[in-house]
């Protein structure tokens, strides 16, 4: 009988767990406390950008012993069972241990593989993958394309490696930007009360959408901003946040509080609005049933934001971006909805 060496695989798993335990990325807090850069990355990167595309797989009639050999030689802790791109199951280290224990190591893998699988789709944002790793105990997920064909496999280590690399790139960019800024005249905050915060808004993540608006409402309450104004600001923030979440590829919401004004700005990464005048009309909507089932999509987002703002600006370039700016004068009492 071939010698089984579980140490390599065990070591690999432990390392993954350690990396994950040390990282500040807590999937449950995505959208809230994570930094804008990390949120941006998790949203910009799709599962397909990070997954391993070369998938070592086996056929259904491969023996468990052969699966064990393949896993050991390739130093992998799980191998998908697939034929012509169709995924049937996964054989993991645990399955091999059980096979050795119970004497079915020479059986076909289709008799002992896990066939009730949790999979990811190639087009999903990386944020979803992280959430899956948080919600399930699996060390890896097979990745399917839109036609349900197996196109890759993703492990926690793949995600961490990609994130660490991209973070270092982003940090270098920020450092260069900071160096440039310090050599020019820096943008001065106009007063002691100046406060600015950015929130990343993730496409289709309705579980988190609204967090920014809730936090902004809280900040306004703590700073004792007039209740009517606070409410109007929160309404615009909420509508714009939902808009970016459901209609765009994702973007940033910025909240700026100054002596005389409050500004809520959103800028997304497209797809842009072809007819802005139409989009600002009451009831103009491109929302689907899913969005409507969440209580939105009645075509009131932009009109509502405009209604509550003292100044409303929108610009958009199809295929590129939409930028909305709502400004509120402090000390003037425009009633919401009027």
């Amino acid at each position: 009988m071939e010698q089984y060496t579980p140490t390599i695989i065990k070591g690999e798993q432990r390392q993954d767990d350690e990396i994950l335990a040390k990282t500040p990325l807590d999937a449950t807090s995505l959208g809230g406390d994570s930094s804008v850069i990390i949120m941006e990355l998790l949203q910009r990167f799709k599962v397909r950008d990070v997954m391993k595309r070369t998938v070592i797989s086996i056929a259904r009639d491969t023996s468990m012993r052969e699966a064990q050999r393949i896993m050991r030689e390739n130093r992998i802790s799980g191998v998908p069972v697939s034929e012509d791109g169709r995924l049937f199951g996964i054989v993991s280290v645990n399955d091999i241990i059980n096979a050795l224990d119970n004497g079915w190591i020479d059986d076909k893998c289709e008799d002992h593989m896990a066939s009730n699988l949790v999979v990811l789709e190639a087009g999903m944002p990386l944020a979803y993958a992280l959430r899956y790793f948080n919600n399930y105990t699996y060390g890896r997920f097979p990745v399917l394309d839109a036609s349900r064909k197996l196109v890759g496999i993703i492990s926690q280590r793949d995600v961490m490696k990609a994130l660490l690399y991209e973070l270092s790139v982003e940090i270098r960019k920020l450092e260069r930007k900071a160096a440039r800024a310090s050599s020019n005249t820096p943008e001065q905050a106009t007063s002691e009360n100046y406060f600015r915060k950015e929130f990343a808004v993730v496409h289709n993540d309705l579980g988190s959408a609204g967090r920014a608006a809730n936090e902004i409402k809280q900040i306004l309450k703590e700073r004792k901003i007039d209740r009517t104004v606070a409410r109007r600001v929160a309404i615009a923030a909420y509508e714009l946040e939902i808009n970016v979440c459901i209609h765009s590829h994702g973007g940033i919401l910025t909240f700026i509080l100054d002596d005389n004004t409050i500004t809520i700005k959103t800028k997304d990464r497209g797809p842009g609005i072809p007819d802005i005048e139409w989009a600002c009309r009451d009831g103009a909507s491109t929302a689907n049933d899913w969005i409507r089932s969440m209580g939105f999509g009645a075509g009131m987002g932009l009109p509502n934001s405009k209604r509550v703002s003292d100044k409303f600006e929108i610009e958009s370039e199809v295929g590129k971006y939409t930028k909305v700016t709502c400004t509120f004068n402090l000390g003037e009492g425009k009633e919401p909805g009027k």
């Binding site: 609204g210 409402k217 929160a234 939105f296």
Partner: protein
């Protein structure tokens, strides 16, 4: 009418938040479209909705609602309950339909007015 009264009137169950607040509900908005709720202009409203999602709670927080009632005993997700606890919004589940809940709340308000 406080949240505790609302729970009683609607045969409801408090699922999250503090149900013992002495503050009175100022108005009721019964709606499933959150953009409409955002434009409902009244102090201390109570949101009555069939939308059993985080967004109902977040909307309630934005408009300063006293609480959220989800009617028809719609199942409430754990995240909805957590968001309600985090934002300190009392969340009530009621077995009544939206119409019946509205009638009961209206009657209770009238009773209160008459003393």
């Amino acid at each position: 009418m406080t949240i505790a009264d609302v729970v009683k009137v609607l045969n409801g169950k408090l699922m999250a938040g503090d149900g013992a607040s002495p503050r009175a509900v100022g108005a009721v908005v019964a709606n499933d479209l959150m953009s409409d709720v955002l434009l409902f202009d009244a102090d201390d409203p109570l949101l009555l909705t069939s939308l059993a999602s985080d967004q109902a709670i977040r909307t309630a927080h934005i408009v300063g609602a006293m609480g959220v009632v989800v009617h028809n005993a719609k199942p409430l997700s754990e995240t909805m309950i957590k968001v309600a606890d985090d934002l300190h919004i009392p969340l009530v589940s009621s077995p009544l339909s939206k119409y019946d809940a509205c009638v009961k709340l209206h009657d209770a308000f009238e009773m209160e007015k008459r003393g």
